[in-house]
C-alpha cells in the first residue's frame, strides 16, 4: 500500500480510536502494528515467529528506556508529589503576602511570583495549579477580587511549570529530537520570564485601570519593615530547592537527571525540617508518582512505537514533501505549523504531539533557509540552534494549549478545587486575556529568535 493511503488511514484511525475512548498510548501502539501491516503485508510480517519488521516496536521502547535523561521524569514527578503533600507552598504564599498585601492587586501578583518560583523547582503542571487554587483563590475571592482575574492569574501562571526550566516538555522534546536539553533549558529562561513578567505587568495594569477589581484589604495595621523581614524565612525553603535543582545543572555539578534526584532530596530535607515527614505522606507521594509515571510513560511508549513504524514506512518524508510541495514561503510554513500545534494542542496531550509530529516537522524546519527564520536573521550565526529555538516555540504553544478549550487541562485542575458556583465556561472566559498574552509572546519568539539566544554558550 502506498504511504499516502497509509497516512490517511492512520489519521482517520487515530480520531476513531480516540473517539471510542481507547487509551491514547495503546491506540498509538496498535496503529503502529497496523501501519507495519499495511506497509509490509501479513505475509512478510508474520512469516516467521519471533522476528521481522515488528521488532521495531520493542526496539523503540527499549531505546527510550535506556535513555538516561528519561529518569528525570519520574524524579520530577516524585518531587512535585512530595511538595504537594507538604505545607511548603502555603508558607511561601504567607510570606510573599506580607510583602505585597498593601499593593493594589497584591495577591494576584503574589500568585504569579509564587508560580514562577515553583516553576523553577519542578517541571510539571497540575499540582501547581491545584495548590494555587487551594491557597490563593479563596484569598482573592474573599477580598472581592474580580473572579476572571483571579482564575486567569492562577491557571496561566500555574502552567509556567513546563515553560521555565526544568520542564518535562523540553526534556521529552530533547529526547525525541536529539537536541541538547541543557541548551533548551538555557533558551527557555528568557521567554519563560517574559511570559511571567507579562502576566504580572498585565495584573498591575488591569488593577490600576479598574481598582474595583482588586480591593485592598480593609483596616489592619500597616505592615512594618520588621514584619517583612520576619516573613523572609518562608521564602528561603523554595529558593533552597530552586538553588539545588538549577544550581546543580548550571553549576556544572550534575546532569539534569541527578539534579532532579537532588531536588527530591532537598524537598525531603525541607519536609523533615518542618516536621511534616511521615510514612503515610511518603508512601502516598510514591503511589502518585507511580501512577503518573505509568500514565505518561505508556503514552510515550505507544507514540514512540508508532513514530518508529511510520518512519520505516516512509511517512515523515512523505508529509515533509507534502508540506514543502505547498510552496508556501518560509514564514507561511512556520505559521502553518504554529496553527497545527495550537489545534492539536487543544485536542490532545503534548506528549503525543512531540512524539508524532516533531519527527515530521523538525526536519522540514531544518531544511528551511536559515536567514528567513525570524525578522533579523539572528539564527544565521548559529544554524545548529534552530532545533533549540523551535523547541521553545513548541513549548510556548503548549502553554496556550493548557488554557485552550475544550480540554485545556489547567481549567479542569482549577475546577476541581474552585467553589461550585464557578463553572468551566467561567474559567475559560477568565483565560482569554492570558491566552492573548501567550500569543503575543509566541509571536515575539517567532519573530525574534534572539530572545532564546541570550544565554547561549557559544
Amino acid at each position: 500500500m502506498d504511504i499516502g493511503t497509509i497516512s490517511l488511514i492512520l489519521l482517520i484511525g487515530i480520531f476513531v480510536l480516540l473517539a471510542i475512548g481507547m487509551p491514547l498510548g495503546f491506540a498509538s501502539g496498535f496503529l503502529a502494528v497496523a501501519v507495519l501491516m499495511m506497509k509490509f503485508g501479513p505475509d512478510l510480517l508474520f512469516r516467521s515467529f519471533g522476528t521481522g519488521p515488528l521488532n521495531i516496536l520493542a526496539q523503540r521502547m527499549y531505546g527510550l528506556m535506556t535513555d538516561y535523561v528519561l529518569i528525570s521524569v519520574p524524579l520530577f514527578i516524585f518531587m512535585a508529589c512530595l511538595m504537594e503533600r507538604s505545607n511548603i507552598a502555603k508558607a511561601m504564599f504567607d510570606s510573599l503576602n506580607v510583602w505585597l498585601s498593601r499593593t493594589r492587586g497584591g495577591i494576584a501578583i503574589v500568585t504569579a511570583i509564587m508560580a514562577i518560583i515553583m516553576a523553577a523547582m519542578s517541571g510539571i503542571i497540575g499540582g501547581e495549579i491545584v495548590l494555587l487554587g487551594l491557597i490563593a483563590l479563596p484569598n482573592m475571592l474573599r477580598l472581592g477580587y474580580n473572579q476572571n482575574l483571579a482564575i486567569g492569574t492562577i491557571c496561566a501562571s500555574g502552567s509556567l511549570g513546563t515553560m521555565i526550566p526544568p520542564s518535562i516538555v523540553l526534556i521529552i522534546y530533547g529526547l525525541v529530537t536529539e537536541t541538547s536539553i541543557h541548551a533548551l533549558f538555557k533558551a527557555a529562561f528568557v521567554p519563560g520570564f517574559i511570559l511571567g513578567g507579562c502576566y504580572i505587568a498585565y495584573i498591575i495594569f488591569r488593577t490600576q485601570m479598574n481598582p474595583e477589581q482588586a480591593p485592598l484589604p480593609k483596616g489592619g495595621e500597616d505592615v512594618t519593615m520588621a514584619d517583612k523581614l520576619r516573613a523572609l524565612p518562608g521564602l528561603l525553603a523554595p529558593l533552597f530547592v530552586v538553588t539545588v535543582v538549577l544550581g546543580s545543572i548550571y553549576g556544572g555539578f550534575t546532569g539534569i537527571t541527578e539534579a532532579a534526584g537532588m531536588g527530591v532530596v532537598a524537598v525531603l530535607i525541607l519536609i523533615t525540617l518542618r516536621g511534616e515527614l511521615s510514612w503515610p505522606l511518603f508512601k502516598e507521594a510514591l503511589m502518585r508518582t507511580w501512577k503518573s509515571t505509568g500514565t505518561i510513560l505508556w503514552i510515550t511508549f505507544g507514540a514512540t512505537a508508532l513514530a518508529g513504524a511510520y518512519t520505516i514506512a516512509g511517512g515523515p518524508t512523505y508529509v515533509a514533501n507534502l508540506i514543502i510541495g505547498t510552496e508556501l514561503p518560509t514564514f507561511g510554513i512556520l505559521l502553518l505549523m504554529m496553527v497545527i500545534f495550537l489545534i492539536l494542542g487543544a485536542l490532545m496531550d503534548w506528549v503525543g504531539i512531540v512524539l508524532l509530529v516533531m519527527p515530521v516537522f523538525l526536519p522540514i524546519i531544518l531544511k528551511l533557509p536559515v536567514e528567513e527564520l525570524g525578522l533579523t536573521g539572528a539564527l544565521v550565526a548559529a544554524p545548529s540552534f534552530v532545533a533549540v529555538w523551535f523547541g521553545i516555540l513548541f513549548c510556548v504553544n503548549m502553554q496556550v494549549s493548557f488554557l485552550s478549550p475544550p480540554f485545556g487541562p489547567a481549567a479542569f485542575y482549577l475546577k476541581s478545587v474552585a467553589p461550585a458556583h464557578i463553572t468551566l465556561p467561567d474559567i475559560f472566559r477568565g483565560f482569554l486575556p492570558f491566552i492573548a498574552l501567550q500569543l503575543v509572546v509566541l509571536t515575539l519568539v517567532l519573530l525574534f529568535p534572539e530572545i532564546t539566544m541570550i544565554f547561549r554558550s557559544s
Binding site: 480516540l18 471510542i20 501502539g29 520493542a58 538516561y68 529518569i71 519520574p74 527530591v264 502516598e284 475546577k415
Partner: protein
Amino acid sequence: MVEHPAETFMDRISIAISRVAMFLVALIVVIMFYEVVMRYVFERPTLWVNEMSLWTAGGVYLLAGLYVMQQRGHIRIFILYDMVSRNWQRAFDTISTVLIVLFAAGIFWGGFNEAWAKLMRWETFGTAWDPPIPATMKPLILVTIVLIAVQAVVNLIVDWKKEKQVHDLVEEVKEELID
C-alpha cells in the same frame, strides 16, 4: 489517593507488583544521592550508580503501566464514550481491548527472538559496571505487555456487568485530592 479496588486475582497481582516496585523510585533517589556525595565529598565517584539507575528505571516505566491499566487510569477521551448507551460502551470497550491484545501480540511476535537470545546469552550493557540490562529489560518488555493485555481483558470482563458511569473529569481530579 482513591484506588480502584482489587476485584480479581489478576488485579491482586498487578497491585502486589506495584506495592513493591514503587519503592524503586525512592531507591533511585537514594543511590543518586550516594553517588553525588561520593563524587564531591569523597572524590570517589562510583561506577555502578548510573547504570543501576538506568536498570531500575526501566522496570519502573514498564511495570507502572500495568498498575495504571488495573486502575483504568490510562489517558483516554470520554466525550463520545459518555454520550452513548451502555451497550455501545461495551462494544467500544471490546474493540479497544481486542486492539490492545493485537498490539501486545505484535510486540511479542516481533521481539521474541531477540529477547530470548539476549536472555540466553545473558547479554550485558557493555559498560564499566556492565549490568545485564539487555538480558533482563528486553524480556521484561514482552512480559509486561502480555500482563497488560491480560489485565485489559480481565477489566473488560469485570466491567461488563457494571452500570454506566459518566466520567466527569472534574470529579476525577477531585477524588485525587480527597484522601
